[in-house]
């Protein structure tokens, strides 16, 4: 598709690399948000590095193998994965101006995200009760910092999603609301990508 276009149009109109003149607002907004997401992932890389360095420093306390419950982690992963799917379908319905379908998919996304958060918070509470809180060892400090930061992102994503649903209901699917929705779905997919790193480094490698 694009190759035919490249041959057909003059070089100054070659797609990409700014060839088509100033990009539409939508592209500029999404690209700017993409840069933000990459910087957010860079911030997470610091927490990942801290965890990788400190994961063996248990100070005589519990190890990952003792405190992680892989069955819960699997359910959490499934929730987040399916919520990413429903978020994508919701973004698609919004693009097609199908307001009611968007609201259904947004509700699914919210419920799955809230389920993820509920399991995570009850895990954390159980660990703190079992004297495996963030103050117990360097390993647990790094664990709570990394996984807690991801959980905080999911929480803010849920707040943002509720706010977006309110905007769609009140303002309708106008172009600027659609641009905000696009940023939200980028954010939600990025959380899923970070979670893949978390389950691999923290849970799957830690609970062996």
């Amino acid at each position: 598709m694009t190759i035919a276009t490249v041959d057909a149009v003059p070089t100054e109109l070659v797609p990409g690399r700014g060839g088509g003149g100033p990009a539409p607002t939508r592209t500029v907004v999404a690209y700017g948000f993409w840069i933000f997401i990459l910087s957010d992932i860079t911030m997470f890389s610091g927490l990942f590095a801290a965890y990788a360095v400190l994961s063996s420093r248990t100070a005589g306390g519990p190890t990952g193998n003792e405190v992680f419950n892989l069955r819960h982690v699997f359910i959490e992963t499934a929730c987040l994965l399916v919520s990413s799917y429903t978020c994508g379908l919701g973004a698609l319905s919004a693009e097609r101006r199908q307001r009611d379908r968007f609201l259904v998919f947004a509700a699914c996304t919210f419920v799955l995200g809230a389920a993820f958060l509920f399991i995570e918070i009850s895990e954390f509470a159980g660990m703190v009760r079992a004297d495996a809180g963030p103050g117990r060892s360097a390993f647990l400090s790094a664990f709570f910092a990394l996984v807690g930061m991801h959980g905080a992102h999911v929480t803010s994503g849920l707040v943002w999603l509720a706010y977006m649903v309110a905007q769609v209901v009140v303002k309708g699917l106008r172009p600027h609301v659609l641009r905000r929705l696009l940023c939200f779905s980028l954010f939600w997919h990025a959380l899923d990508i970070i979670w893949i790193g978390v389950i691999t480094l923290v849970y799957l490698m830690g609970a062996r």
């Binding site: 598709m1 694009t2 276009t5 490249v6 149009v9 109109l13 070659v14 797609p15 990409g16 690399r17 700014g18 060839g19 088509g20 003149g21 990009a23 939508r26 592209t27 907004v29 999404a30 690209y31 993409w34 840069i35 990459l38 910087s39 992932i41 860079t42 890389s45 990942f48 590095a49 801290a50 990788a52 360095v53 100070a59 892989l70 699997f74 992963t77 499934a78 994965l81 399916v82 990413s84 799917y85 994508g88 379908l89 973004a91 698609l92 097609r96 696009l182 779905s185 980028l186 997919h189 899923d192 990508i193 893949i196 790193g197 389950i199 691999t200 799957l204 490698m205 609970a207 062996r208």
Partner: protein
């Protein structure tokens, strides 16, 4: 989106309405992601892979899954309209790689060169 869409740069996550391929893209992506997730858990919990190779296997599976997410959920492609997105991603990955491997490398060296500590020191 309109017809002159392809003359412009494309941003990640932007939908294209020309066909139903979008729902298909998300569904295929979900299928791959589920398969890779199950594979990760199986590799980690069984002796399917040779023991010392398990972390490598898990990292490979994680990268495969991140690739699936980028392509099927964020619609990143290799076309010229995606050059800016891929360049930004490549820079981000480079920083992530430097921070993580650099930290692990430096701290491993520090640990290796550390004087043996008496065990009874207060923690």
């Amino acid at each position: 989106m309109d017809g002159d869409d392809r003359l412009y740069d494309r941003a990640p996550g932007v939908e294209h309405l020309e066909s139903t391929a979008n729902v298909l893209s998300y569904t295929v992506g979900l299928g791959f992601a589920i398969l890779l997730t199950i594979a990760s858990f199986v590799v980690s919990q069984t002796n399917f892979l040779w023991g010392p190779g398990v972390p490598v296997g898990l990292i490979v599976l994680a990268f495969a899954q991140i690739g699936v997410h980028l392509v099927f959920f964020l619609h990143l492609g290799s076309g010229p309209d995606n050059t800016n997105n891929i360049l930004a991603l490549a820079f981000g990955l480079m920083v992530v790689f430097l921070v993580i491997t650099g930290s692990v490398w430096i701290i491993a060296n520090l640990n290796a060169n550390m004087m043996p500590m008496p065990v009874h020191l207060p923690r």
